[in-house]
Symmetry: C2
Subunit: 246 residues, 2 copies
DNA sequence: GAAAAATGTACATATATGTGAATTTATCTG
DNA sequence: CAGATAAATTCACATATATGTACATTTTTC
């Protein structure tokens, strides 16, 4: 079950992140199609807690810097090492596609850092974006780092759905694909989950964290050169990863 | 009316900002005394939206970097000029007390930047902290920048309460205190709102934004030297504020 | 290695909560 | 400067929602 008012808080924040200017109660209510009274309660709650204020009298609400302060505290812990951002920046620059660092989240994989392609037609992904762990290159690069028991435990919770023509729709299909990936030296996906989308990924263990790097883009651009892209990822990791650490 | 689940989202994030490590459903539920099932729904919602993930399998949830990405976008707009942070940093260093930049939010004043005192006994304030606009030095330094009509409009919404012995409990009392502040050259408060707390503040208009700077600390430390502190604030603003801007 | 304890998940139901309509307050406009 | 228009609040009530209970799964204990 989705907690509506919790989701609404996030939507409001995303709204401000997009518009980047103060908004009045009426504007917000209209934008979301929420009743004024409900919007009023929400804004009042956020204000009361110190997360919203009125920069100028009657010019509307805007988030306080408290969000930033809190987010900084949270992200200080286990920050990604510098070089991982460099990694996806380089990969995106060289391939012209979108590159990301991905982490596990139950049966899903979450994008925790993203550098987007500059191409007009491109894979649009943002930090926080989630995809099924078994039906994507990046996800499978995570699964490769699990023990058999851990993988089994994940499989039990997966709801296998035919997202695309090549989606693996059984545990066996996923395990087979994992074995293929090992043989191949990298993970790949051709529209397993998103239409027209292809990607190459490799595992990226950092300390005891299980991450992966993925480069993804439209099938017609990535498809022909997927092996090259995979090799480039591996080379770039080798180049940037500090030698001392595992 | 307070929107409970909206507040809960904030509480969870604050919880993570404090503990700075992943927490399991059970830990979170116990910490807040929430039912497991409700906690489950909340965490599921936040995860689904891409704001929570599981860094390591079964080691609990933690916020994704999406919070940071969003907060950065939001705060890029109208960032405080560099020198205002320098201002409160210098003031805090020189006085040994807590210094803050404050903005209006209806009948309240919000702390939008804070440098805390290092003293063992100190004014504990964080970004986002809110205090009544009429019963604090910082708030009155904001009111001084309002027109009479704007002030009247604020007064109408204030619920006058006797927070401390010297809290102004009528419009007239506030107006009188404002006139005194002008004569005095700065705003002050002696436990008007918080017990044992005293502070000196002056208006700090930046562009068309109405802000104020305040230095606050325990009455016994600040009290005797309040005039000096106020003078120091004024001098420091003069020193740091770019000459060109108003 | 089996049993116990702890944790995570699903669902029906009573109730806390969101909302439509009414009221107050502010802002245009001629 | 009225009178009109729009925005912000308030409030009682029906309904969407949080939770108690039951069940499944995982981890720990002995």
């Amino acid at each position: 079950m989705i907690v509506r008012q919790a989701a609404n808080v996030l939507e409001i924040m995303e709204f401000f992140a997009q518009t980047r200017k103060p908004a009045t109660l009426a504007e917000i209510a209209d934008h979301f199609g929420w009743p004024r009274s409900s919007t009023f309660n929400l804004l009042a709650t956020l204000s009361e807690k110190g997360y919203l204020y009125e920069p100028r009298p009657r010019a509307g609400f805007y988030p306080t810097p408290r969000w930033l302060a809190m987010a900084r505290l949270i992200s200080e812990v286990e920050p990604l090492p510098q070089w991982t951002h460099q990694l996806i920046a380089d990969l995106s620059a060289e391939t012209g596609e979108t590159a990301s660092i991905v982490a596990p989240a139950g049966v899903m994989a979450v994008f925790i850092d993203v550098v987007e392609s500059q191409a007009a037609i491109r894979y649009f992904a943002t930090i926080g974006h989630r995809v099924p762990i078994h039906a994507t290159a990046s996800g499978r690069a995570l699964l490769l780092q699990y023990s058999q028991e851990e993988r089994d435990s994940v499989y039990r919770k997966i709801e296998f759905r035919q997202y695309g023509p090549s989606t693996p729709i059984s545990i066996e299909a996923v395990e087979t694909e994992l074995r293929n990936s090992i043989a191949r030296g990298y993970c790949q996906s051709f529209a397993d989950y998103s239409r027209d989308l292809a990607g190459a990924a490799i595992p990226l263990p950092i300390g005891d964290r299980r991450l992966s790097v993925v480069v993804a883009g439209p099938e017609f651009r990535i498809g022909p050169k997927i092996a090259e892209v995979a090799a480039l990822i591996a080379r770039t990791v080798d180049r940037l990863r500090p030698k001392a650490a595992a």
